[in-house]
Structure formats: structure tokens, C-alpha cells
Symmetry: C2
Subunit: 492 residues, 2 copies
């Protein structure tokens, strides 16, 4: 096991890329911009999926599945949506390969098999879903439609990075339709809160809930709610968005319903999504120069047990005891792996599980057998302690809860230390350069100012926090009046 | 609720198409050949996924995710695979749309954004996965690789039918790599058995396990194991396949390992899959002229409770009692819906849940309140009985188990009655025409005979049953020697 991980301080970006590959989360594939999510990485994604799916169902949503392809004309229907998304995408133009007559064993595209209308590989599914909803909604009794889809989507990104920006990625996309505006707005806010609850309590990543400015908003939306997280390098990462679509898609796809008075009205829509990008946020929030650090709620293996022995008799005695412990831990719902490979030394195993972020490591040697103890090591703070074997399963269970909590607290502290209120533009720039993070500043509310600041500093408005204090002030860039602070940051 | 379902006897195919749509399982989309899987249908698919996924993990497999796209050259690598699959498929040739300069609001494919190499939307993932495995396998210690993927795939079918044959469909595909031939063969057989166990015990569909003949085999495989089911119209349906790939893909993608003696060898492969096609098998095995019949193991709603009342007071009294029952049933793991809609009459509700195949319906009216009873109706045999409320939850739970078993028995009986041994070709044709089903006959083992029989009767060899008796005989078509019977049928 060669660790040789680049240090975060040296090159944060390189550290991230190396770690994702070395910890067996994902790797680049033979297809430009597309990744392979490896079993260990996928196991974490499955845990995220399971928890989110449960939350979606608890809030009344059902899953369904819509086509991968969207005919070009459907994209054009919602003009702003088309502007925002449809440009950089994978386009299917033909449906058959044939043997190359000039080159045996080679295949070429059959020129006769050209599609009448090109198909876009979905970059998002509003168009195909709203064109379907038209057939599903007649009366107010058919509403609300509360539907989610787990799917792959494709956006033809030129510069890609594992999990953070890939041509194909996995996500869920909720698409709901409602009889009233207020109900749709409530739904958008509810799902933002579901995301925030999940990311904070399950992934141990603190987020700011807020609204996007017009220029950062989803093209087809009236309002975009978001949750913004802060990575260890001081850059922000948008962890999830929830859009209030108004009647934009209903009008584009003619989705009307008869209200209680029998009058025809357009329905109100929302859409909301999180993606495998969250895997990137997970890595960049908690991990360190030794490798991954995983919150226990997401760790495929929560506890690894490593035997330390010289003789076969010792190993047998250790194994007998460990097998009992494993049963006790599993009964408490703890996922545990007993690493009794004889092909590798304990030091190698320690390094491997450290790299893979297993929250707790238990080592047991002949001394421990004599004393009735185990050595328990925490991955996050790299501490060790010797614990009596009596009741150790309860100790372990509690320790996992404690780690989950402390990882969150640590990330909150980091964010607190990297959120700075500034009142003039020189300070703005210097804070951004020196320590990064969120810069809380007054803004005059114009797209122009936002654009100027972005061009000068690369910082964008991450969000208008929902819990911001209404306070009058002067824009940090123009000095024009402002009604409250917004959060700027450089972002992924 | 308009049922008006075509009768199976009148037009089986029409009955199927109507039922899938009316029971809210799926519908055709605005994209040629692609379906929308509706929430009720998807809920059934999710139950299938959950059970299969559990079985895969119990047999040591992990999930992972590989790219949607396969570069054209990768397909060419395994020649037979390319012949078998790559022809009819969706081909991405461009990666950008642009505004049409001649037609405001319209989008056209940007001719400058042509891909250097075309990308095929995966019809199956052997090529992309084996090109990845090359990087994952160095030594025998890296083997076996036991990986599964849940994914969408695309095959450009000209004539499509909901679930049975669609351009895009959902499936799982297992892809494993082994150090020895025997281990790979064992894996192929193991996964065929996992499928058979699932389809029989969970879906209540009996299957024949067998081997495909050369002409029905997966192009890149040395041997294809399959499970074959029989539908109510006497046609067979291939419910799952498991391929022993030999070293074909290992050689095509140069996947070698150092064995225990340090010698380089090619690895041995398998792949295996089942798809949303199983939804079609489910509908066509159990359902009837009144609608869906679902085995309790797969029913999203196992029990529906319908109140029958004239006054609000009656409804309240019924609801109080039903709420207690619902809790008791849920504690037993029974999924139950209380349909207390006041917008619809009981008769409408009965018809709706009948159409949707809910296994048990409980009705309760004022008389039942007085007598301490419920009326319990079975969907599968359309029977009714009055049951005392004391301990009814246990009665219901047992009844569900009984229904699951009886559906399977009924399907086995149907298959037994529709499996005919024939010994001459006239009989072969007449059985096939009069009652269909499996025709068990001797075959001389040649592709030519198989082809001739297919051309004359539309029947193909569904499989060489694994449990067939070795018996010498004469081919039903040529009279040439044969070593045992094979199963012929017309098939989906």
C-alpha cells in the first residue's frame, strides 16, 4: 500500500484527486469526462441514496422513471431552460452501426440510419417530465404530483474532476406539480430543508440555506433555494438546489387543471436535486493528509478489527474472541470488518484502513488477551486508547455517535472561523486572498455589480442567506444602498 | 374508473397493453420506443430491485457504476460481441447545440462540435467494464472481482412493447472475473440459481433452468444459462440470463493476472442480467380479465381497507377501528392502505384496487361494526369471506402467505398442462398451434434444423433443460440421432 498522498497544504487540488483514486472511490474512465465509481465509493453513495430516499418517501414522494433522451424540440419549448442547459450536451443523431466495407472488423455509423429529430441525452429532465405531466393532470384531484427520479444525466463539461464535475453523473431529481403558488413555494422550501437536514446530520457538513441571485439561478426557475457548504481550502460548494419553477414549465408544456370551481388554470412547479457531487463535498470537508475521514453514518465499514500475532495459536485465540465481538457489534447495527488476512502485516492494514477512512480501528494482541483489553483508535483525531473488553460494544457504539457529532462541530468551527464580515472592497479582496471562506458583505442587488466583483476576484454570490438580519448598509463595491448582507466566496 | 379491459381471450396482446397503462404501471413517452415507468409500476420494480440486490450482496457482490457511453473502438475489440449487439444502438456524434441563425428560438446541432470518435449509448457494458478491469487486476490476490451495476441501457428496437421490448430499459448487469475456468462456470450457475430462486419464490413464476443453443447464445459468451418462463398465452419469456464468457473479453481487453506461481494468465469472466422485462412477465403470468394480480411479495399495497358508510358518524366509528387495525398490520410488516376518500363510492374503489392487483381487500360497514367482523376479499380468486376482528391481523398475514404460494402452484399447473412431449413434426406443429406452451422434442443438435423449425413454425429452442433425462432418440424434424429433449416454444 503506497500512501504517498500529496499534502493539502502543498496542493489541495492534487491531494483531492489523488485521494479519490487511492481510497478507491472513483477513477477516470476510457470515456472523456466520465468516471467509474468504484465499489467502495459506490457503497458510500448507496448509503446516501438510502437515507435520502427514505426522507423523500416520508415527505410523500414516489419514485418513477422517465426516458434518458429528450427530443430537441422539447428543449426548445421552455426558452430559458434551453438557454441555460441545452447547449453543451451529448446529442444522438444516428441509430445504427454497420461493418466498414473498406476496413474489415471495423464499424462505422450507418449514414442511412439518421434520426429525423436529434435526441439530447438528458442534462436534466424538466422538459420530458412536464411533457408527460400534461397527460397526468386534468383536475385539482390529480394534484399535487410528488415525484422523484434516481438517474444519470450528462452535461458536456470541458474541464472535469472526479465527482465535482463530470460529463455523466448520478443524481436524483424531484419534479412536483401543485394547484397553488404557495403550495409550490412551500414544497421548494421543504425540500431545501430535507437536503440541509441530510447533509448536516448525516454527512456532518454544515450548510447555509439561502436563495440564489438571478444570475446564479436555474434558468427555468423563478427562485432557486440552495444549501452552500464550505470546503477546507476556503472554497464554497453548492450541495443541493431546490427550484420554484412558477408556471414556466406548465405554460411551455400546456399543463392545466380544472380547479374546484371548474376553471382551467396552469399548475405550479418545483424541481430539486442533489448529485454524486456530494461525494466530493464529503471528501473535502473531513479528510486529511493521511486519507479519507468518513462520518460513521456514511462509512461502509464503521469498525475494522486487526489481529496482532506472531504464532498461529495466538491468531486462533484472538479470532475466537473477535468473532464474539463481531456478533455483538452487528447486533447493535454496527458494520464491522475483521481483517484477518495473513498476507499483510498489521502496519500495512493500519495504513490501508486509515486511507479509507474507517472511523474506528480495534487492534488486539496477546497482551490484550491476557489483560482483557482492546486498543481502540479513532481515525478522525488519530487518538488511541486501551479499553476493557467488558461492554466494549456499547463503548464502540457511543464512540461512533460521538465521532459523528464532533466531525460536524469541527466543520462548523472551521466555517465560523472562515466567515468574515467586511465593509470595504480592499478588505473584501484581502480576506478572500488571505484566508478565503465566506465573505459576508453588502451588495446593491444589481447583476452588474455581481459581475464586476466576479471578474475582479473570482468570487460569486453563493447565496442570500435565509436567516440574514435585515440591516441597511452600503454595497461593498459601489457604495449604493443595500438591505442586507449576502455571502460571497470562490466556489467549486 | 373506466375498466373496459379487453378480454385475454379476445386479444391477449391488446389486453396486456391496456392493462399496463390502465393499472398505472407504465406508458409510452414522447420519445420513440422509450417508456415512462409510472410510480405504481416503479414501486413494484423497487421491490424487485431490493430483493435482488440483497441476494447479490449475500453472494459476495458489490455494486459499482461505469460510464453510459462506450467509444466505438471498444466495441470492435471483442468481435463477436460487436456482431451481436453494436449494430442497432443510439450513437452520440456531437456535443453541442447552437441557436439556429435562420430561425429564432430554434436550436440546431453545432456542426463544429463533432466528436472525434463516436460514442455508443451502452446496449450492455462488457466492453467498458473489461477495459476498466484491465487496471484492477494484476495478481491472483485481486481475484475474483464480483461486481454488479444497476443501470439503464439502450437497444434501438424497431417494434417496441411496454416492458417487454423498449429502446431504453432498466436492468442490473453483473460482471465478474475469476482466476480459473471452473470458478467462472460455478459463478454463472450460481447466478442463474439466484435468479431462479428470486423469480419463483418472490415473483411466483415457475421457470425452467437451462442452456441456450449456440444460435440463441449471447454473442460474446461460451455458454449462456437461462431461466425460461411460460406466459398465459402459451408463449415463453426469457426471464434472465447468465453467461460464462470464457476468456473472450479478457483476451479482447488484455486482462491478465500473475497466478500463484507468478505466471501470467488471462482471467475468466461471467456476466448476468435481468431487466424491467420481468415486469412484463409478472403481468402476463398472474393477471386476469379484471386487471392485475400481484403476488403479495411484490405488491406495493398488500391490503386495502374500504369503509362502507352512509353517515359521518358511521365513517368516524369505522375509522377509529380501522386505524387500530392498520397499526397492527404494519407491526406485522404488512403494507396497508386505508382508502377513506369521500370523493369516490365503495364500488369505484373496489374496481380500482382490483385493477391494480391489491391481493386483499377488507371492507367494513355498520353491520360489521355491530358484529365485530370484516369482509375479506381475495383478488386472485375473487372470493369473499366474513372474518371475526379478533386476531384478524394474523389471519391476514397468513392469507398473504397462502396467496403467494397458491399463485405459484397455479402457474406451475398451467405450465405442466402446457408442456407437451412430441415425437413427430406433425404433432409438433399441431400442439404448437392448438395450445402452444413448451414442446419437448428431440433435436439433432444442428443450427440448420433449429433454423428450419423456426422458419416453419416460429418456435425456437428456449433451452436445453439442465435437468433433462439423457435419452437417445430421433430428431423431430430430421430423424437424425439425438441425445435428449429440448424445449421449443414461440417466445416474447
Amino acid at each position: 500500500m503506497s500512501k504517498n498522498l500529496t499534502k493539502r497544504e502543498e496542493d489541495y487540488s492534487k491531494w483531492y484527486n489523488e485521494l479519490v483514486v487511492k481510497a478507491d472511490l472513483a477513477e477516470n474512465s476510457g470515456v472523456r469526462g466520465c468516471m467509474v465509481i468504484k465499489p467502495y465509493g459506490y457503497a458510500i453513495w448507496e448509503k446516501m441514496q438510502a437515507e435520502l430516499d427514505k426522507k423523500f418517501k416520508e415527505t410523500g414522494h414516489s419514485n418513477a422513471y422517465f426516458p434518458l433522451f429528450v427530443p430537441k424540440s422539447m428543449f426548445e419549448a421552455e426558452e430559458k431552460n434551453a438557454e441555460g442547459f441545452a447547449k453543451e450536451c451529448a446529442i444522438v443523431t444516428h441509430y445504427r452501426l454497420m461493418n466498414d466495407p473498406d476496413n474489415k472488423g471495423k464499424l462505422i455509423v450507418d449514414p442511412k440510419a439518421k434520426l429525423e429529430e436529434e435526441l439530447i441525452v438528458r442534462p436534466t429532465s424538466e422538459a420530458i417530465i412536464w411533457s408527460t405531466y400534461k397527460g397526468w393532470v386534468q383536475s385539482y384531484r390529480d394534484l399535487p404530483l410528488l415525484i422523484n427520479q434516481w438517474a444519470n444525466v450528462v452535461r458536456w463539461e470541458m474541464r472535469t474532476r472526479l465527482f465535482l464535475r463530470t460529463a455523466e453523473f448520478l443524481w436524483q431529481e424531484g419534479h412536483t406539480a401543485h394547484a397553488t403558488k404557495i403550495e409550490a413555494i412551500e414544497e421548494s422550501e421543504k425540500m431545501m430543508n430535507v437536503y440541509a437536514d441530510f447533509v448536516q446530520n448525516f454527512m456532518a457538513i454544515p450548510v447555509v440555506k439561502g436563495l440564489k441571485t438571478e444570475s446564479e439561478r436555474f434558468a427555468g426557475a423563478e427562485e432557486t433555494y440552495c444549501i452552500e457548504a464550505l470546503m477546507q481550502d476556503g472554497k464554497a460548494l453548492q450541495a443541493g438546489t431546490s427550484h420554484f419553477l412558477g408556471q414556466n414549465f406548465a405554460k411551455a408544456f400546456d399543463v392545466k387543471f380544472a380547479n374546484q370551481e371548474g376553471k382551467q388554470e396552469y399548475v405550479w412547479g418545483t424541481s430539486w436535486g442533489v448529485s454524486t457531487r456530494l461525494m466530493g463535498a464529503l471528501v473535502m470537508t473531513h479528510s486529511d493528509d493521511n486519507g479519507l475521514v468518513l462520518p460513521p453514518n456514511l462509512a461502509p465499514i464503521q469498525v475494522v478489527v486487526v489481529p496482532i500475532h506472531k504464532t498461529d495459536e495466538q491468531l486462533e485465540a484472538i479470532s475466537n474472541q473477535v468473532n464474539e465481538l463481531v456478533v455483538k457489534l452487528r447486533n447493535l447495527g454496527v458494520s464491522v470488518k475483521y481483517d484477518d488476512r495473513t498476507t499483510h502485516k498489521p502496519g500495512f492494514k493500519f495504513a490501508e484502513w486509515e486511507l479509507k477512512g474507517v472511523p474506528l480501528r480495534i487492534a488486539i494482541g496477546p497482551k490484550d488477551l491476557e489483560n482483557g483489553t482492546y486498543e481502540v483508535a479513532r481515525r478522525d483525531i488519530l487518538s488511541k486508547e486501551v479499553v476493557s473488553k467488558e461492554g466494549i460494544e456499547i463503548f464502540i457504539k457511543n464512540k461512533l455517535d460521538q465521532i459523528q457529532e464532533e466531525l460536524f462541530t469541527k466543520a462548523v468551527d472551521y466555517r465560523t472561523n472562515h466567515t468574515t464580515e467586511v465593509n470595504d472592497f480592499e478588505e473584501f479582496k484581502s480576506v478572500l486572498e488571505s484566508k478565503g471562506g465566506f465573505v459576508s458583505a453588502h451588495w446593491d442587488g444589481t447583476i452588474e455589480t455581481e459581475e464586476n466583483i466576479k471578474n475582479l476576484t473570482k468570487a460569486t454570490i453563493r447565496c442570500i442567506p435565509l436567516d440574514r438580519v435585515e440591516e441597511t448598509g452600503s454595497c461593498v463595491f459601489t457604495g449604493n444602498p443595500s438591505v442586507g448582507r449576502v455571502l460571497f466566496a470562490k466556489a467549486y
